[in-house]
């Protein structure tokens, strides 16, 4: 079964080709093709996973091009990580495509939407299966391209186009660095293949500086794709795309690509302590930094977007501190519950027609399925036991506790914030009194095609955590591990810290929003500077605007001023002096020099009249001149030599 893994990405590819082919028929049947392809791919992935669990593996590669002595290969490899990722990607993609049947119904570019979804799934599956960096990079860019197409799906609105461009360009900044990193590693080892690269790096065959530089540059690509600080700015804006797309791309798969890259190239990272430090700290900073911004968002999708950034930071934190299994396990659980939350938010937006949480409230009475699945998802995100998020977040924090206490406490604080903002979002959306009665009256539960994926994902979000639960033997760690499988002892500090974090977060949120015991206005006015800072996203977007856009313009102004005032002043002063001198010499000039100059000019004029006939515009004349010259040259050669 694992030997058939190469077939999995080909199914969405075929579906993309079929849907994407130009056709006169504006049929809606195309959705069935996409769903069918990804459904079969999902079943195949399950088969592959089953095979891998029983100890199977597969790899194959063939030569694509030969350059000098280096063969560039194309190939795939299947191991535990790949198998799990295949299942996650195909499953979430399947759910999203089914969900889109309802959500995108009647969209004017329905066909294109399904075509690009298939392309995206193909690219992501290819990325997961690739066995070398170059191939991975190709799929990496394909993922970026399809993400760009999907974010800009409603391109009639210039804001959406800007968001798509921003996402594309920001990630491109990371990709350039990543490509340089790939080339550095290639120049040191002469191979792109993960297996060989890892062995060489572990064996110390690469100099420490080159390894650190290559790994950090590689990580820069992951920073861009996984929206880590400081390249996180594109992800919140990318919410301009259709919500199912946000669920697929910005929660479960594309942003996971960065984490996956770090996981896949882990031997390289692990061999360089500096690179690991960078990964861990970027992850930690991102985790807390994005969590703070999520606290104050009014837009339900923005809350989820910042939450995604924050959770990706957790994964990087775990990976950077040596918790390979923990980081990747969080990637899997997060994929399920964040896809669930995004699809739930889509259901809410579909029903209410707005994204502003302040215009919602009390929706659980009208939308029970959406509401309860959302609550399961948010509980999983907050890390309430025994849901998925609890187990994976716990593992990461445990790793951090042993490896780096500072980062551990940062993680705990971020966990508290997570619990707070998701509780806040839940309450504002689903509970309390309806704040906009007119909208509330029109709300009804979403159709079955949208709620069934929600229920499936909710069940998974609730249960998938047991795969990594130490009391149950942590089957996930048996499958995905780096080096030996090892378990860390649970300590009371971690247990209590984590528990206190989510309890505190939930309670404070309920106290403010549900109970009203603490006035929101008082908090806002009391913490006015902090609130403003958070509302404005730490001014990072503005800083980029100032630095890179306005900065250039300002520099131009300064240079212009210098030019006008200083340079022109000197020039004008010199000119005044010169003019006086010129008046004196002018007399001499007019009488004596002009005579000579005019004579020369007249001569040139007459000569150029003659020469200008040469440029006749007649190509044949030019060719004739060439031919005659060549023949003369040949003649000299023959006669002379």
């Amino acid at each position: 079964m694992a030997g058939l893994a190469w077939l999995i990405p080909l199914l969405p590819l075929a579906s993309w080709l079929y849907i994407g082919l130009p056709s006169h028929r504006a049929s809606t049947r195309y959705d069935r093709v996409g769903i069918g392809a990804v459904g079969i791919a999902f079943l195949l992935s399950l088969g592959v996973l089953w095979d891998v669990i029983r100890g199977g593996s597969a790899a194959a590669s063939f030569t694509w091009a030969v350059h000098g002595s280096t063969a560039i290969t194309i190939g795939y490899q299947v191991d535990g990580l790949t198998a799990v990722m295949l299942v996650v990607v195909t499953l979430v993609s399947l759910m999203v495509q089914v969900y889109s049947l309802g959500y995108m119904h009647g969209d004017r570019r329905y066909k294109r939407y399904y075509a690009v979804l298939s392309l995206f799934t193909f690219a992501m599956l290819g990325l997961v299966l690739a066995d070398n960096l170059l191939l991975l990079y190709i799929f990496w860019e394909l993922v970026g391209l399809s993400s760009y197409l999907l974010i800009g799906h409603w391109f009639e609105d210039p804001a959406n186009v800007r968001a798509a461009n921003k996402a594309f360009l920001t990630t491109r900044a990371g990709d350039v660095a990543m490509f340089i990193g790939i080339m550095i590693l290639f120049s040191q080892t002469g191979t792109f293949a993960f297996g060989e690269l890892g062995e060489l790096a572990q064996a110390g065959a690469i100099s420490a500086q080159a390894l650190a530089l290559g790994a950090i540059l590689l990580f820069a690509g992951a920073v861009g794709k996984s929206a880590q600080f400081p390249l996180h700015v594109w992800l919140p804006d990318a919410m301009a795309g259709p919500t199912p797309v946000s669920a697929l791309i910005h929660a479960a798969t594309m942003v996971a690509a960065g984490v996956y890259l770090v996981g896949r190239a882990y031997p390289v990272f692990a061999a360089s302590p500096e690179a690991m430090q960078v990964v861990a700290w970027i992850g930690g900073i991102t985790a807390i930094f994005a969590a703070t911004m999520a606290l104050v968002q009014a837009d339900i999708k923005k809350v989820l977007a910042y939450s995604t950034v924050s959770q990706l930071g957790y994964m990087m934190l775990g990976l950077g501190l040596g918790g390979y299994t923990a980081g990747l396990f969080h990637l899997i659980t997060h994929a399920f519950f964040k896809a669930l939350l995004f699809l739930g938010s889509g259901s809410v937006i579909h029903a209410t027609g707005t994204q502003d949480m302040h215009q919602m409230g009390g929706l659980i009475r009208k939308m029970p399925i959406t509401g309860w699945t959302w609550i399961i998802g948010s509980a999983a995100l907050a890390g309430i036991p025994p849901l998925a998020g609890f187990w994976s977040k716990d593992e990461i924090l445990l790793t951090a506790y042993y490896a780096n206490p500072t980062l551990f406490w940062i993680g705990v604080v971020a966990a508290a914030m997570t619990a707070f903002y998701i509780t806040r979002a839940t309450w504002l959306t689903f509970f309390g009194a309806p704040r906009d009665a007119e909208r509330y009256a029109q709300v009804q539960e979403s159709p079955r095609v949208m709620t069934v994926p929600l229920v499936i994902l909710a069940v998974l979000a609730a249960t998938v955590g047991f795969l990594g639960a130490p009391p149950l033997g942590a089957p996930f760690a048996q499958l995905v591990h780096f080096g030996e499988v090892h378990h860390l002892e649970m300590t009371s500090v971690v247990t209590w810290g984590v528990t206190a974090a989510w309890v505190l977060g939930v309670l404070v949120a309920l106290a403010i929003y549900a109970g009203g015991w603490i006035s929101r206005q008082r908090i806002i006015s009391g913490l006015r500077p902090v609130y403003t800072l958070l509302k404005n996203r730490y001014y990072i977007d503005d800083a980029y605007d100032y630095l890179f856009v306005k900065g250039s313009i300002g520099l131009a102004y300064v240079v212009g001023w210098l030019d006008r005032v200083v340079v022109d002043g000197i020039v004008n002063g010199v000119a005044a002096i010169t003019r006086w001198f010129a008046d004196a010499t002018g007399l001499f000039d007019r009488e004596v020099v002009d005579g000579a100059v005019n004579g020369v000019a007249d001569g040139v004029s007459v000569g150029s009249q003659a020469f200008r006939r040469l440029q006749s515009g007649l190509v044949q004349s030019y060719i004739l001149a060439m031919a005659v010259t060549v023949v003369l040259g040949l003649a000299i050669f023959v006669i002379g030599g």
Partner: protein, 102 residues
Amino acid sequence: MVPLPYVLGLAALLFSLGLYGVLTQRNAVRILMAIELMLNSVNLNLVGFARYLEPDRPGGQLFAIFVMTVAAAEVAVALAIILVIAHRRDDVDIDKINLLKW
């Protein structure tokens, strides 16, 4: 076996025919044809050298293949240009296509 100078001589003669055509014809289509003759004579040279100097590694033949490819591209574009000009002016006299001079 054909001596190499025969092949080269034939190519040279064909080249001169093409050259003469390019230099003297007024009709753009016919100039295009003459250019094709010249390209063919070059290919003959390449294939001849490939056969006589490097029979086991015929790089010259590959060059000829690339020349053919480029010739096909060139004819397509040139003919398209000529057709546009003919469409606009009912005339493809190369001497009258001189908007860019001076």
